[in-house]
């Protein structure tokens, strides 16, 4: 199996940082691992694990990931210091940027 390891760092206007590290299974173009870190605020905090878990298994396509992230934040989670769009930007950047990905394994 060939995988792509991606990462991104997005600076939100006003100062917060969102970092994403992910692994995409190239064969199925499926997100197999993702971790979102940074100095933003999310209430309740445990929502971050829920979001990461929800994203795993999705096809790593911009529209799918983006709509999933936006829908997630309609479920009562409150972001402070960043917006759902910022999260989407960071995730898309990590899953797509060629210069930040490298092929590993087989």
């Amino acid at each position: 199996m060939t995988i792509l390891r991606g990462s991104s760092e997005v600076k939100v206007p006003g100062g917060k940082l969102i970092r994403v590290q992910c692994i995409v299974d190239e064969a199925g173009k499926m997100l197999s691992s993702i971790i979102i870190t940074g100095d933003f605020f999310l209430h309740p905090e445990e929502g971050i694990q829920k979001l990461e878990k929800d994203l795993i298994g999705l096809r790593a396509e911009p529209e799918i990931l983006k709509s999933h992230i936006h829908n997630f934040f309609k479920k009562g989670y409150v972001l402070v210091g960043a917006t759902p769009e910022d999260f989407a930007t960071a995730v898309l950047k990590a899953t797509s940027r060629e210069d930040q990905t490298r092929r590993l394994g087989r």
């Binding site: 100062g15 870190t37 100095d39 971050i48």
Partner: protein, 259 residues
């Protein structure tokens, strides 16, 4: 729902290690949610010096663990979001506020509640002779330079906000312990990360003692939030719970290294 308390308790300035400091804040939060602890303003310091990181931060990305070990600096993960902070044992005062979400003196809206609680810190700084202002979302600045960072969580109907006032932090040490993002510096168009931060020693002719700063913060909260504070201590239950949390959660590598 947590019971309403009209009396606010003041826990005067004391120093603890990082795990115990975070454990005490959480023990008060849990006690408050059960209706066993009153609304509380707590003033504290850190001994030894420590780095705290936000709930969502990657430990490895933010902290130089090797340098922390070498210099004997504690490392702890908070239950609040936000950024990494260096808590200098000789140069920093931290506060925490714990209160029921239904408390009418403080807005339910998160941003507005930051603004109001930070107005207490700003009033405290004014008492000391420093003019500072709130910079949304969660900073207090003197001019352009940050002097206080603040972070809030809301659990079980209770709000916990803690924050820090830099008095005489060893900035050089701070930037050796924390990995400052290039992106963040570039954004501000300044060459040195040190230019983004100030402290009371730099802003005042004479450096105030940590106790003076704690006393000014007490006055600031009382006046700005219009809450009369009654001096008290931790309850036996809070102490017992804090000891358990310090040992099993905040000293536990599984918690510290979880991201």
């Amino acid at each position: 729902m947590a019971k309403t308390f009209s009396i606010w308790r003041l826990l005067g300035f004391t120093k603890n290690d990082a795990a115990m400091n975070m454990a005490i804040d959480e023990a008060i939060l849990i006690g408050r949610s059960k209706g066993e602890s009153p609304n509380t303003v707590r003033l504290y310091g850190w001994d030894p010096s420590a780095v705290s990181i936000g709930f969502f931060q990657s430990l490895d990305a933010e902290v130089d663990l090797e340098t922390c070990r070498t210099l004997g600096v504690d490392v702890v993960r908070r239950i609040t979001g936000g950024g990494a902070v260096f808590h200098d044992s000789q140069g920093e005062v931290t506060y925490s506020l714990v209160f029921g979400e239904e408390e009418r003196v403080i807005p339910r809206d998160i941003l507005e509640s930051y603004r109001l609680i930070c107005s207490g810190v700003i009033r405290g700084l004014e008492v000391l002779g420093v003019k500072a202002s709130f910079q949304p979302v969660n900073d207090i600045v003197v001019g352009e330079r940050k002097i206080s960072g603040n972070a809030q969580t809301r659990r079980r109907g209770v709000v916990l906000q803690h924050g820090t006032v830099l008095v005489d932090s060893d900035l050089e040490k701070m930037f050796r312990l924390l990995k400052v993002s290039d992106e963040k510096i570039r954004d501000k168009m300044i060459s040195s990360a040190e230019e983004r931060v100030t402290n009371l020693k730099k802003e005042l002719p004479k450096k105030p003692s940590l106790n003076d700063v704690a006393e000014a913060l007490r006055r600031g909260f009382e006046e700005s939030l219009k809450i009369p504070l009654t001096k008290g201590g931790l309850t036996e239950k809070e102490v017992r719970l804090a000891k358990v949390l310090a040992k099993e959660k905040y000293s536990n590598p599984e918690w510290t290294h979880r991201r």
